[in-house]
């Protein structure tokens, strides 16, 4: 049943309609229709072209880093890969189980207990009953919640919330792993255990797509870099090459010996 992971993107474009204030309201639509301005109103919708004609093919073993300024379309590309934003034009083909770590709070409800949050996360992932139990054990052990697991997350310390969120996000191992940089945030302070756990997940994924501003992480983890600029692909190629173009100067140090891949 398990096939090798593969991603094909052809001429992908994603546009965001911006329904400014009243442009979104029925009143304006109705008025526009009554005065025969509907067509014009339609064309006047402000549209943000978040991705424009992106082409990309990834096969098993690829570790892709996404770089670019804020608003260049990195997160949009991750969401499009995850099937959240459907393309306006072009084509996406994704083969393989996929997990997107885009938002730390997915399924995290502060009012629910730790156990309930873990259960929900498992259900969102469509896990079977025995797997739900394993998920709970795994997350509870890693997050070191002990007795707090049956108390609302609202009363947890900040550290516990971070540990719980991280443990849930990294408990399920997909073939294709999409990561936004939140998961690396506070990396310096991050426990060694967490780093090991994250690296295990990254290593076991067949395809990694990682969006970050931290070039050292990309140097460590990625073999290939895609540079996005205002929704366009500015450069795509071997990590070191594209990173040098992106930073505009030679890379500081060679990748350390313990680098992944």
């Amino acid at each position: 049943m398990k096939e090798t992971a593969q991603i094909d993107i052809e001429d992908l474009s994603v546009w965001f309609p911006l329904y400014h204030g009243s442009a979104r309201s029925l009143k304006k639509m109705a008025l526009a229709a009554a005065t025969g301005r509907l067509g014009r109103d339609r064309r006047e919708h402000v549209v943000v072209r978040a991705l424009r004609d992106v082409n990309l093919t990834l096969t098993a073993g690829d570790r892709l880093g996404l770089v670019g300024a804020n608003g260049a379309g990195k997160t949009t590309l991750l969401r499009a890969l995850a099937g959240i934003y459907e393309p306006v034009a072009g084509r996406i083909r994704v083969q393989g189980s996929l997990n997107a770590l885009l938002d730390a709070s997915l399924g995290m409800n502060m009012e629910l207990t730790g156990r309930e949050n873990i259960l929900l996360r498992g259900l969102y992932a469509g896990l079977s009953k025995p797997d739900l139990v394993r998920l709970e054990d795994d997350v509870a052990e890693f997050a070191e919640l002990s007795d707090f697991i049956d108390l609302p997350v609202r009363i947890y310390s900040t550290g516990m919330v971070v540990r719980l969120g991280f443990a849930m996000a990294t408990a399920i191992k997909p073939q294709i792993l999409l990561m936004d940089e939140w998961i690396l945030a506070g990396d310096a302070a991050f426990m060694e255990r967490a780093r090991v756990r994250l690296e295990t997940m990254v290593r076991s994924a067949e395809i990694l797509v990682l969006s970050t501003h931290m070039t050292t992480i990309i140097q460590d983890w990625c073999t290939r870099v895609l540079w996005l600029d205002q929704g366009h692909v500015r450069a795509d190629g071997p990590a070191a090459e594209v990173l040098e173009q992106y930073i505009g100067k030679p890379l500081p140090a060679p990748a350390p010996a313990d680098a992944l891949t």
């Binding site: 995850a82 709070s105 969102y124 469509g126």
Partner: protein, 285 residues
């Protein structure tokens, strides 16, 4: 520590095009529906947690639903039986039943409007069948209804009314309600995400619906001519397919025709809109 838990709900094959054909759009809408039903345990849990969270910290919990309905039915019952000069023993069971059933319909319609805007964070962070959120709203309201049914049972017992085995004829009515509820959440959920001022309009319509439908007044208070026109009121038909069998009030065939007709219409509109809008909902919420 670890495991090889791997996500199964996410399609392992995903192929999306910018310009989708009619058939492809239908394919995706159907797979959304199937995927949502397959994740029924998620929908069930979400709906149940919604009810629990609403009454978090209160001692009686969701039974506040039962109590507030009981208080309302008792107060209205005595007031209106006096106003309408009706026998309390005949009126109160009717009112309890009508009020509880209408309460379900009204809150279902109202909450359908926020089916997709409520879980916007989830919609934007993972690909999830939209039907999951429809099931959640249905479960949430069905649980509230179940708590209120206690009021009906108690009132019926006090007045020693036993509806008889006709009661079972309410089951097809409840089946229609289930299907209509899901259709409604898909339609209103998507439509209200796009146009934010639909919800107040919907609530006003339900307000009018409450008064033109025999909920607090009895249908036999109308003239025979007006009674014949009642099946034109979709709220009446839908309320009556469940209420009629319980009260054994001798429903006309027109009521069934109306209920089925309006339901079919709702499902058709809902499906067409969902097929068209499904891929866009994420951009709207």
């Amino acid at each position: 520590m670890s495991t090889a838990l791997s996500p199964v709900s996410q399609q392992s094959h995903l192929e999306l095009h910018g310009r989708m054909s009619f058939a492809t759009r239908h394919y995706w809408a159907i797979s959304d529906l199937v995927g949502g039903l397959r994740l029924w345990r998620l929908g069930l849990t979400l709906g149940w947690l919604d009810i629990r969270l609403r009454y978090r910290g209160s001692m009686l919990g969701p039974f506040w639903l039962t109590i507030s309905t009981a208080v309302m039915v008792a107060a209205l019952g005595f007031l209106y039986s006096e106003l309408f000069k009706l026998d309390v023993a005949g009126y109160l069971p009717f009112l309890a039943l009508s009020q509880v059933l209408w309460g379900f319909l009204a809150s279902m319609v109202s909450e359908a409007c926020t089916t997709f805007t409520e879980p916007e964070a989830v919609i934007r962070s993972t690909r999830m069948p939209f039907t999951v959120f429809s099931i959640r709203i249905l479960v949430r309201n069905a649980l509230a209804l179940a708590h209120n049914v206690v009021v009906i049972v108690v009132v019926f017992m006090i007045f020693r009314m036993w509806p008889g085995w006709h009661l079972l004829l309410a089951l097809p009515g409840l089946a229609i309600w289930t299907i209509d509820s899901l259709a409604l959440t898909l339609l209103l959920g998507a439509f209200c995400a796009r146009f934010r001022d639909i919800q107040p309009i919907v609530n006003s319509i339900m307000q009018i619906g409450f008064f033109v439908t025999p909920v607090i007044w009895k249908p036999d208070q109308l003239s025979p001519r007006a009674t014949a026109l009642m099946p034109l009121n979709p709220f009446y038909d839908l309320l009556e397919v469940v209420r009629g069998p319980i009260l054994n009030s001798g429903m006309s065939h027109m009521t069934w025709v109306g209920a089925l007709g309006y339901s079919l219409l709702l499902c058709l509109i809902s499906w067409s809109f969902f097929v068209y809008a499904r891929g866009r909902i994420t951009f709207w919420v």
